[in-house]
Symmetry: C2
Subunit: 389 residues, 2 copies
């Protein structure tokens, strides 16, 4: 065991070297007069609610930027994933494979479909699902019945795989797609954190059948609260939009609804904020990538700590900067968190593994030893785009 | 049958007499520089997302205004009702009594709990649930088992009653409370349309165990998209807030969640708009009540049409002005809608009965003859607060 009791002090010093004095949150959005003027224009139009110029423009911007054919804007990332799973025909009693290392929204969206999250391992290279381990696991527990994948142990259908691109870093999508193809499983990307990140030159979110984004206040681009689903399929896009608008059938005045839909449409007010943010997205990503380089240099001298960098074939938006402790210093994580908090540097550990949360105690999972070890050694450090002037 | 073929022309003329020339929507919000400045202040604070000054202030304003002890602000009225039903322990397989005449959100929120909407009749006096008919119906089909109400026909528990205060007009809450007490059913008010309306001097939303509001763009007070639940119970309020914030257990940095919650919190950006709107609510209600008087005078001369006015013991916000056709002229409804649309006066029929919508074909219902007749004779006419200068 490394006995470097100075580690918390060294971490504080390395962060200070990059961000300077004062208090720093983990992530705060960057606004200018443009956000104020676009939102004011929205209010003056009186169209602040579920339809309007800015919602259309925001969806168009997102589709163009990512290269997806269609984008449907909704109230948040959770509702986006819920919609995508719905449209992918995830049904009551199905299982959906998700990484054990994610925010609870990934699992909850599965639960809203009355389906069951099935937790899988992540890898050190991408912090996302380990495709090789997943493949071996599925070979051992699954079989195809009438071309559908079934878990032989639970006797439930496995309908979808939802890789999440952790802290902005793309998962190994090529290998995950191969696994999905082999087992006839739908791949839906949880790209909540990875707007602007690329896998082999292609935008995350556009590689699976559908991709889901979040525009929460802590994300690289914010609409206050918001989310979206992107897809290349016109049919899926039509269904997503229909379901997000209470399943209402278009008519001049009549109220007919042909399905149990949702009230999930992004308000125009929030989209106006997002339209302003979109003009700055490239700059935000450049800032975050520059911030990574500065942190890299600052942490280079510290034994036992690695600043996480993008994997082969990926280009990351570096949404949250991430340090990973060696196992030898893993026991110092809470001391580091304590000390950084005391000096006003907001740092954060990884999420508690989803498989360890009370609502998900009883759900299926593969061996999660590596995920458990890795998660216990992750700390996110201040990552706001404005840290780079 | 009344052969007054001039009726559509007479209706247009009566509306024009009140609203003047030009195009008029059914309902559009009223904004001034105050909305722009409060929302700008919110953006400049960088707190645009799920917590902040304006969300707290908005909740406080709503509680103070309605006289409820607690208010929890969420993304929309649908999510508010979903949360309230959850907290009222509406469980999978339960039935929930709701009026057949309502927007589909009332039924969908029940479905999200995997419960079954059970449709009941409305009355002409309030346009809300007919308490006498409901009582007779429940006597005929229900029995108490261990103090819980069961539908003897379906063998399902009836857990809650959700009266909806149609177009702002309070239902007969006193009688409905009596019926709920008799059958041990929880009363949750769908006050989505009735912010500011009173029943016997008490605010709608505060009379049942919980009350639900909507602040959608078409409502008397808008946050772009938004909703809230009010209650006098500290314990229910705590649960509502916890469930609306992903069930996260408070901690400086750890992510623990003890229930499957929802991402339902109202963003601070939307609350800022709502805080500005709140300062004008009294004026909006006065305008709408004045608009009612002007329409009343304009429609007085037209045979076969009644402008709907508030019932005994109620004070209405007159959210949507409503004309009701006599049965003798009911067949002219679509001609009236057609002609008003052609001249740029946006009018709207009542919702298709929920019991007649495809997703709810198979659900239980009492005899809905009167509701069907009434609904077919309702037209809402332009109702924006700015129609009164």
């Amino acid at each position: 065991m490394n006995s470097n009791d100075n580690l918390p002090t060294e971490v504080v010093s390395a962060i200070r070297q990059v961000v300077g004095n004062g208090k720093h949150t983990l992530h705060q959005p960057s606004f200018s007069s443009l956000e104020v003027s676009m939102v004011s224009e929205c209010i003056e139009s009186t169209f602040v609610s579920s339809s309007g110029y800015f919602v259309d423009k925001f969806e168009k911007s997102l589709a163009e930027y990512t290269g997806a054919n269609f984008a449907v804007a909704v109230v948040n990332g959770t509702s986006a994933l819920h919609l995508a799973l719905n449209v992918a025909e995830v049904s009551a009693g199905d299982e959906v494979l998700i990484p054990a290392l994610s925010f609870i929204a990934t699992a909850n969206a599965v639960s809203y479909c009355n389906a069951i999250p099935h937790f899988v391992e992540v890898e050190s290279e991408t912090l996302g699902i380990d495709a090789d381990k997943l493949e071996r696991y599925l070979v051992s527990i699954c079989e195809l019945r009438d071309s559908e994948c079934f878990n032989r142990i639970t006797n439930r259908r496995i309908r979808a795989l939802v890789p999440m691109h952790t802290f902005g870093h793309p998962s190994n999508l090529e290998r995950l797609l191969e696994v999905c193809k082999q087992f006839n499983i739908v791949l839906i990307e949880d790209a909540a954190e990875s707007l602007g990140s690329l896998y082999k030159g292609k935008h995350t979110g556009t590689i699976g059948t559908m991709g889901v984004f979040s525009f929460n206040g802590n994300k690289i681009l914010t609409t206050g609260g918001g989310g979206a689903v992107v897809t290349d399929s016109q049919e899926l896009a039509r269904k997503l939009k229909h379901l997000s608008t209470t399943g209402k059938v278009s008519h001049k005045w009549e109220f007919n609804h042909d399905v149990i839909g949702f009230n999930y449409r992004m308000p125009n007010l929030n989209a106006a904020l997002g339209c302003a943010q979109f003009t700055k997205l490239t700059k935000f990503i450049e800032s975050k990538r520059e911030l990574y380089l500065r942190y890299k240099s600052a942490f280079l001298q510290i034994d036992g700590i690695t600043l996480f960098g993008e994997a082969k074939d990926t280009y990351s938006n570096y949404w949250l900067q991430t340090i990973i402790l060696d196992e030898s210093v893993a026991h110092q994580r809470d001391s580091i968190l304590q000390q950084t908090h005391e000096v006003g540097l907001m740092c954060r550990p990884a999420w508690t593994l989803l498989s360890d949360l009370e609502p998900y105690f009883e759900t299926p999972r593969m061996d999660l030893s590596f995920t458990r070890s890795l998660a216990s050694r992750i700390i996110n450090i201040p990552s706001s785009p404005d840290l780079i002037g």
